[in-house]
Structures are given as structure tokens and as C-alpha cells.
């Protein structure tokens, strides 16, 4: 089920009603759990078995990990959990990719091996719920938190429908305590939730689907070289589409949870206003970058094992982060480019520190709570750094080419069209489309810059009620007029 569908509206209204009826807290939790399974099964019912398997295995393995004192047995249990979770992910997500690469390799070695292409359907959200359950068992292994007492709370933690298929990726301490005590939304939470759902749907349906997906699809679907303007417009359109699509989903998820009285972590903080790439990763898909930091980068040694290892760890993290997004080498290159950007940024930072050691003067921005290491000089963000933000945005757009292009030939063709004059490059986009993309992208960047140190609800709270009402109604009217419903979110495929 997707948030931008009539089915979800009906489902959500029923859930809202049920959640506010005078049932016991346990009954309400059971309702939420059943609803979450229905939410998931409405996409492809058989895959619910995987969800159950993952939940049951990790609940019991997690508890055993926490209670087991024998080191060898603890390690064995951790391996069981890792194999279970990552094995499932590898089979469904990377099975075809691994087989394809193995086939290429043995063919290169002269072996005539041509297996049938496996027809594996990727279960929706497997990457998200695998990471959710993985962090629980790793936390249990490290005894970072106590095991969840009831399987009902644990199942709900894994399956809670607002975050189930595309995040935010939640940690047990963020959500499980909320299930332990009765939660229903206050009037303020309900209204804020409805506002966030409206905003999220506006971002997804009006901006991503209605305005930006067509130009992005047209340009990236081109079979030949493109006119430079078309190439750039296509990339900018995708840059907007992927943000509005995914941030729209996260905003809906947070809004839906809020309507039920729960709080989910922020996932996006105006990433296109980022000054530098570490800043970008503190603003883009925050819960994933925090997950990668805590469960991959730091266990690899982080920055504690010398500069060389720091650079290597950074690159490994970004490469695997790229691969997490999809079973294709283009995603790996996307990750590698980000790794490279972070290297360059760190080199500059190290160079500046060597020239002039910097005193700790600048307080951390209040809203930035998670992410990779941020170079100190970039923390001194002033409005004059808007230019640096634009450069960052420009460089990020280059990486999106690899993220969106189906293969390297297309990616290369796109980059060639973007950075050189292509004689007779195809002219694809209409004037109206170019105006739409330009207006939306310019407004998006300005909006991100203005909002970079605040949050939407903070701004909404300060607004006169009539102005908020006008903006809210404009979003809803455009949502109704766009008549784009039920298209899946891009991140579902990850």
C-alpha cells in the first residue's frame, strides 16, 4: 500500500478510528500490528512470511544474545542473525546481480557458462526492515540496550506501517518505549500530523510525480546524445524528483505516526542547502547515514585508526551505502563519487587545520543531530556560503547521473551531453517543461537555504493561522488537481 492511494486513505481513516476507541492499550497495539501486516500484504501477500521470519528469529536471537555470557556462543548467535538477515537480503536483492557478475567473470576466464536469468521479485522494503532488525541484534550483542520484553512490541517495532517499507530506519530505543505506554495523539499532534501528510503528499504527488518525473524519465530514457540544456534539465528534474519523492514519503510517515500519537525520527533536513558533502549526508536520508556510521563506519575503526584507515573506512562505507540502494554497479559508482567528494573535503579540512589550528568557536547547528564527521570549517556556515551550497548542489547533481542512469553507457552519454557541446543532440523537452523544472528547482534550492536551520513545524507554528490555512489549502488543491495517484515511491525498489 502506498500513502498516495485511495486505499491508504480508507485504511488510515479506519486505523485512526480504531486507535481512538476505548480499547485497552494491548488491543490497540494488536490492531496496529494487524493493520501493519495488512498494509504490507496489500502489496504482495506471500512476502509477509519473510517479515514474520525476520521478526521471530531476531526477537529470540536478540534476547539470547543479550543473556548469553559465553563469548563463543554469543558470536555464533550474532552470525546466525547476520546470516539470516543479510542472507535474505542478498538472495532477494543481490541474487541476480551476483549471478550475472559471476557469469561475466567465468566467461572472461573462458568458461562457457550461461545460467538462466533468475526471476526473483524484490520484496518491498526488505532493505529497510533488514536494517531495522539488524541494528536490534547488533545492539543486543553489544548490550547497548535491553532486549524488548514482549514479542508484540518487537513485532510492532519491526512492522509499524508508517516506517515499514521506506523508513525512516528506526532504532529500538526510538520506538519501543513508545509502545510500552499508551499513546494516542493530542489535538496538536493530530493537526501537525495532518499538516505533514498534506505536505508529504504535495511533495510526492504534485512535485515529484506530476511535474518532475516525466522530464527525468524522458531525458534518462533517451537512446542517443542530447542537447546540453535538455541533459541538464533532466538531471535537475531527477534531483528534484528523488528528493520530493523520498522526503515526501518520510514526511508522510512522520505525519501518519504523529496522527496516531507516535514520534518518528527526522529523515531529511533540506539537503540541497548543504555546504559540503558531510553536511549533505547529515541532511539526506539521515537515518540511513546514521545507521551506516554506527553499524559500519565506526565498527570498521572510524577515524580512530589513523588517517589512511579513516579514508579507507569512509570509502568502504560509501561504496556499501551505494550498493544498498540497488544491485547495480552504477550505484556503487554513485557511492564511490560521494566517497571521493568526502575524501577531498577531508583533505581540504586537514590542510586548513595544518595551516591554522582552529579554535572551537562555532556551536553545532541545533537541528543537525546525526551524520558523518563534519569538517570544522564547514560548520561556520554563514549566508555568504550560499555559493558553496550551490557548488555542493552542482556536484550532487553529477552523482545523480549514475544513480538514475540504467547503465554506464547511458551515464556517460548523459555526462557528455551535460559538459560538452553535442552537435545535433536531441531536443526533447518542451518550453513548458523547461519552465516547470526551472521554477521548481530554483524555488526548491531557495527554500532549502532559507529553511536550513529550522524545521517546517517550527515555521508553521510561527505563522499566522490564516496564512498557514491558505498555504495548506493551496497544497491540497494542487494535490487534487494533479490527479496523480498510486504511483510507487522510488525508494520502494531499494
Amino acid at each position: 500500500m502506498v500513502f498516495n492511494s485511495y486505499t491508504f486513505i480508507v485504511f488510515f481513516l479506519i486505523m485512526l478510528g480504531l486507535h481512538n476507541l476505548p480499547f485497552s492499550w494491548k488491543v490497540k497495539k494488536i490492531n496496529l500490528l494487524i493493520a501493519s501486516y495488512i498494509f504490507y500484504a496489500a502489496w504482495n501477500p506471500p512476502f509477509i512470511l519473510l517479515l514474520w521470519l525476520s521478526t521471530v528469529v531476531d526477537f529470540f536471537v536478540g534476547r539470547a544474545l543479550y543473556n548469553q555470557e559465553n563469548k563463543h556462543k554469543r558470536k555464533l548467535l550474532l552470525v546466525v542473525s547476520l546470516i539470516g538477515n543479510l542472507g535474505m537480503l542478498c538472495f532477494f536483492k543481490y541474487g541476480g546481480f551476483l549471478l550475472e557478475n559471476f557469469t561475466h567473470l567465468v566467461n572472461l576466464l573462458g568458461v562457457n557458462y550461461h545460467p538462466a536469468k533468475p526471476n526473483i521479485i524484490l520484496p518491498a522494503g526488505i532493505s529497510f526492515y533488514t536494517f531495522t532488525t539488524l541494528c536490534y541484534t547488533i545492539d543486543m550483542y553489544k548490550k547497548r540496550s535491553k532486549p524488548v520484553k514482549s514479542i508484540l512490541d518487537f513485532s510492532l517495532f519491526v512492522t509499524f506501517f508508517p516506517h515499514l517499507v521506506a523508513g525512516p530506519i528506526v532504532r529500538p530505543p526510538q520506538l519501543v518505549p513508545q509502545f510500552e505506554m499508551p499513546h494516542t495523539a493530542t489535538q496538536k499532534q493530530l493537526m501537525q500530523g495532518l499538516l505533514l501528510i498534506s505536505l508529504g503528499l504535495f511533495m510526492k504527488v504534485v512535485l515529484a510525480d506530476s511535474m518532475l518525473s516525466d522530464p527525468a524519465n524522458t531525458v534518462f530514457g533517451a537512446k542517443g546524445p542530447l542537447n546540453t540544456l535538455d541533459a541538464w534539465m533532466g538531471v535537475l528534474a531527477f534531483s528534484g524528483q528523488i528528493f520530493f519523492d523520498f522526503a515526501g514519503y518520510s514526511t508522510c510517515a512522520i505525519g501518519v505516526a504523529s496522527c496516531l500519537g507516535f514520534v518518528l525520527p527526522e529523515n531529511f533536513l533540506y539537503p540541497y542547502a548543504a555546504v559540503g558533502f558531510s553536511d549533505f549526508w547529515r541532511r539526506w536520508h539521515i537515518t540511513l547515514s546514521a545507521w551506516l556510521r554506527d553499524y559500519l563506519y565506526i565498527p570498521l575503526g572510524g577515524n580512530r585508526k589513523g588517517k589512511f584507515r579513516t579514508y579507507i573506512n569512509l570509502m568502504i562505507t560509501m561504496l556499501l551505502g551505494g550498493l544498498w540502494h540497488g544491485a547495480n554497479w552504477t550505484f556503487v559508482v554513485w557511492g564511490a563519487l560521494h566517497g571521493l567528494y568526502l575524501w577531498i573535503e577531508k583533505l581540504i579540512q586537514d590542510f586548513r587545520i595544518r595551516l591554522k589550528p582552529e579554535p572551537e568557536l562555532v556551536p553545532k547547528p541545533q537541528v543537525v543531530v546525526q551524520g558523518f564527521m563534519a569538517p570544522r570549517f564547514l560548520k561556520k556556515v554563514q549566508s555568504s556560503n550560499f555559493f558553496l551550497a550551490l557548488i555542493t548542489f552542482f556536484m550532487i547533481n553529477v552523482t545523480w547521473v549514475f544513480f538514475r542512469a540504467p547503465d554506464f553507457t547511458s551515464a556517460w552519454r548523459m555526462l557528455t551531453s551535460m559538459f560538452s557541446h553535442v552537435p545535433n543532440g536531441a531536443v526533447l523537452l518542451t518550453t513548458l517543461t523547461i519552465i516547470k523544472v526551472s521554477v521548481i528547482i530554483v524555488l526548491m534550492v531557495i527554500f532549502h537555504w532559507l529553511m536550513r536551520n529550522t524545521r517546517v513545524l517550527t515555521v508553521a507554528n510561527k505563522m499566522p493561522w490564516w496564512l498557514l490555512g491558505l498555504i495548506w489549502s493551496a497544497m491540497l488543491i494542487l494535490l487534487i488537481l494533479s490527479q496523480e495517484s498510486s504511483s510507487t515511491f522510488i525508494y520502494f525498489q531499494f
Binding site: 500500500m1 502506498v2 492511494s5 485511495y6 486505499t7 491508504f8 486513505i9 480508507v10 500484504a41 496489500a42 502489496w43 504482495n44 501477500p45 493530542t186 489535538q187 496538536k188 493537526m191 501537525q192 495532518l194 499538516l195 498534506s198 504534485v206 506530476s210 511535474m211 516525466d214 542537447n227 531536443v427 526533447l428 523537452l429 518542451t430 518550453t431 513548458l432 523547461i434 519552465i435 516547470k436 508553521a460 507554528n461 510561527k462 505563522m463 493561522w465 490564516w466 498557514l468 490555512g469 491558505l470 495548506w472 489549502s473 491540497l476 488543491i477 494542487l478 487534487i480 488537481l481 494533479s482 490527479q483 496523480e484 495517484s485 498510486s486
Partner: protein, 349 residues
């Protein structure tokens, strides 16, 4: 902001949205717009699910836009007592759908294949795109999508403004007619009064279209631009043979299971018909379909009762002519040996 202010803002937004929707709906109705259904994969899939109805109770129609305009489903169902399942796709070849039905072992019913030669004998990928997308949607449809379809149906049946084809935000912006930069291919836009879609997927021309020769000429101009754009000559030789072989294979599979297949060449007129006759001579195309497949066929020119129509824009029948065509078509089908056990007796005009 206090929650009281949030509630105020929410109430204001709600009131403004309701006022806008009511005003917009009222305005569109006053301009003569009627409810129309978006003819996408979900509507097609809904009809595709019905093909398993018993052969003596249903007939499946595939083809291009002509059969969608020319078959008046109410008339058909009233006279024959048979359910008409419309699976034709606008601007498309029916061959992917024919193949899909042929490979579905559970389909054993009656099938009418509409032949618009320029599309039927085309191997251009674009002409197969919609049927293939619809088939994929039908196969991959999720329970949630089915649910949304039914809610959407309920809303589309009540509100004129829910017409994605002509009244979505993008269509409204396209109505600004901003001049295009040089070199961009612009797909010719049909006038919004050309057709409306019913829930049974029948299309019909609006009263404005029937009355206004200017709109009719716009559509004629679009047909002409399609003709000029078409660079490939009509299929012939091995290419034609391979198309016919594919048709025969599909037809054989359906007939082997007890199904019935009949081809129909629905009316066209004027310059369009003249062009079709030149590009696709009857003996080389229409007659070969019947000869290769061994199926019965109804060519409109062979039957005086359906040979006289003048299509407003050369290619599709007006709603009133569609009723006459359908009544006579049923009669001819019976002459060909098709039976309708639930048939009612209605005098033909």
C-alpha cells in the same frame, strides 16, 4: 502555535478546498463537461479479469479506437443479453492482447478482433506500448491497487473534474499553449471534446464534437499529421508473413480450446478511407487475415446496412451511428452463425 491555531488553519484549509472543488465542478458542468473515466491500466485490468465469463454470456472485443467508438455496449448488451468486454486500446495494435488471451488457457470465449490496418499490421514498438503496459499492470496488480481502483471508480462516477485525460494539472498547464522552442517534437493534442470514456471503456464523441465542424477538422488534421509522420511503408513480404503467422498461431490456440474468433473491419470514410485503401489493399491485407486464420470476417463495405456511414472526422462513428452499427453488426454476426442464447428481439431500424 497553539493547537487551537492549528485547528483554525486546518478548518480554513478544509473550507477553502471544499469551496474550490465545488466551484470548479460547477464551472465545468456549466461548460458542458460530462463525467469520464481515465482509461489506464487499472480500468483495462478490471475488464481483463472478466474474460473468463462463460462463452454464451460474454463477448470480448479487442482492436484499436474504432471498436471502442463504434460498438455501443448498451445496445449490444440489451439485444444480445451478452456481456461486452471491451479490451481494445486507442492508437494500438491488438496483437499483444490477442497473444495474451491465446496464452491464457482459461480463456475459451468469443472474441471479436477489430482491424484498423495501419495499426494492426504495424510493428512499431510505440503501437504495442499501451497493450503491453496494460497486460503488465493486469499481471502485477496488487490488492491495494484493486482497492484504489474501486474507490476511484466511485469518485470518477460523481465528479466531472476528476478527468485526468483533460483536466489534470498538467493538462491545464498545457492549455496555456506556450510556444515551443525549435526542434521539439510535439505530439498533436486532440481537442478535449473529441471523446469521453464510459466505465465499460466505450468511447463516445461529445455533442460539441458532433455539432462543430471546426473541432472535427482539427481531428482530421491530426490524422493527416500522423500520415505525414509515418515514414515506414506498410508491412509486406516476410514482415507481413510473420505478423500473419503470429495472428494465426494465437487464433489457433483459442479455437483449439473451443473459443470463437471473428475479425471485423469497422467503418472509416472520406480521405482516411481512401488512404487506407491505397496503403492496405483489401486483397493483400484483410483477405489474407481471413485466409490465413480461416476465421469469419465482417468488412463494413460488404454489408449495405453498415456501409453507408460518414464518420465526423473520417475514422470513428458518432454515438447515434454507433447504435445503428451495433444493431446491424449483431444481425450480421447471427447470419455468420454466432448465437446469443440470451438474445432479446428488437426491431432493427
Amino acid at each position: 502555535m497553539e493547537s487551537k491555531n492549528l485547528v483554525r488553519a486546518g478548518v480554513l484549509a478544509f473550507v477553502l478546498v471544499i469551496a474550490f472543488v465545488a466551484g470548479w465542478e460547477f464551472y465545468l458542468r456549466s461548460k458542458g463537461f460530462d463525467t469520464s473515466y481515465y482509461d489506464d491500466g487499472s480500468l483495462w485490468a478490471n475488464k481483463r479479469e472478466m474474460v473468463y465469463e462463460p462463452a454464451n454470456k460474454a463477448t470480448v472485443f479487442i482492436g484499436s479506437s474504432r471498436i471502442k467508438f463504434d460498438l455501443d455496449i448498451n445496445t449490444w448488451e440489451n439485444i444480445t443479453g451478452d456481456h461486452a468486454i471491451q479490451l481494445a486500446c486507442v492508437g494500438s495494435t491488438p496483437l499483444p492482447i490477442l497473444e495474451n488471451l491465446a496464452n491464457d488457457k482459461n480463456f475459451k470465449g468469443k472474441l471479436v478482433v477489430d482491424v484498423t490496418e495501419g495499426l494492426f499490421f504495424s510493428s512499431a514498438a510505440g503501437n504495442a506500448r499501451t497493450p503491453n503496459e496494460n497486460i503488465k499492470y493486469y499481471k502485477d496488480q496488487t490488492p491495494a491497487q484493486r482497492g484504489s481502483f474501486h474507490v476511484n471508480h466511485l469518485l470518477e462516477s460523481q465528479f466531472v473534474f476528476l478527468d485526468k485525460e483533460w483536466l489534470s494539472l498538467n493538462e491545464l498547464l498545457a492549455g496555456l499553449h506556450i510556444r515551443n522552442r525549435p526542434g521539439v517534437y510535439n505530439f498533436p493534442g486532440f481537442p478535449s471534446d473529441f471523446g469521453r470514456v464510459k466505465f465499460n471503456r466505450q468511447e463516445y464523441m461529445t455533442n460539441k464534437m458532433i455539432a462543430d465542424t471546426n473541432i472535427q477538422n482539427q481531428v482530421k488534421g491530426i490524422w493527416n499529421s500522423f500520415r505525414q509522420m509515418s515514414k515506414d511503408p506498410p508491412a509486406s513480404g516476410a514482415k507481413l508473413d510473420s505478423i500473419l503467422t503470429a495472428v494465426k498461431n494465437s487464433v489457433d490456440k483459442i479455437r483449439a480450446r473451443g473459443g470463437q474468433v471473428l475479425f471485423v473491419r469497422t467503418p472509416s470514410s472520406g480521405a482516411y478511407l481512401m488512404g487506407e485503401k491505397m496503403g492496405f489493399p483489401r486483397e493483400k491485407y484483410w483477405e489474407r487475415i481471413l485466409a490465413v486464420t480461416g476465421c469469419p470476417g465482417i468488412h463494413f463495405e460488404d454489408y449495405p446496412a453498415i456501409a453507408h456511414f460518414v464518420c465526423p472526422e473520417f475514422s470513428h462513428l458518432s454515438p447515434s451511428d454507433a447504435i445503428v452499427f451495433t444493431k446491424n453488426f449483431i444481425n450480421i454476426l447471427q447470419e455468420k452463425g454466432w448465437t446469443f442464447p440470451h438474445k432479446q428481439t428488437i426491431a432493427l431500424k
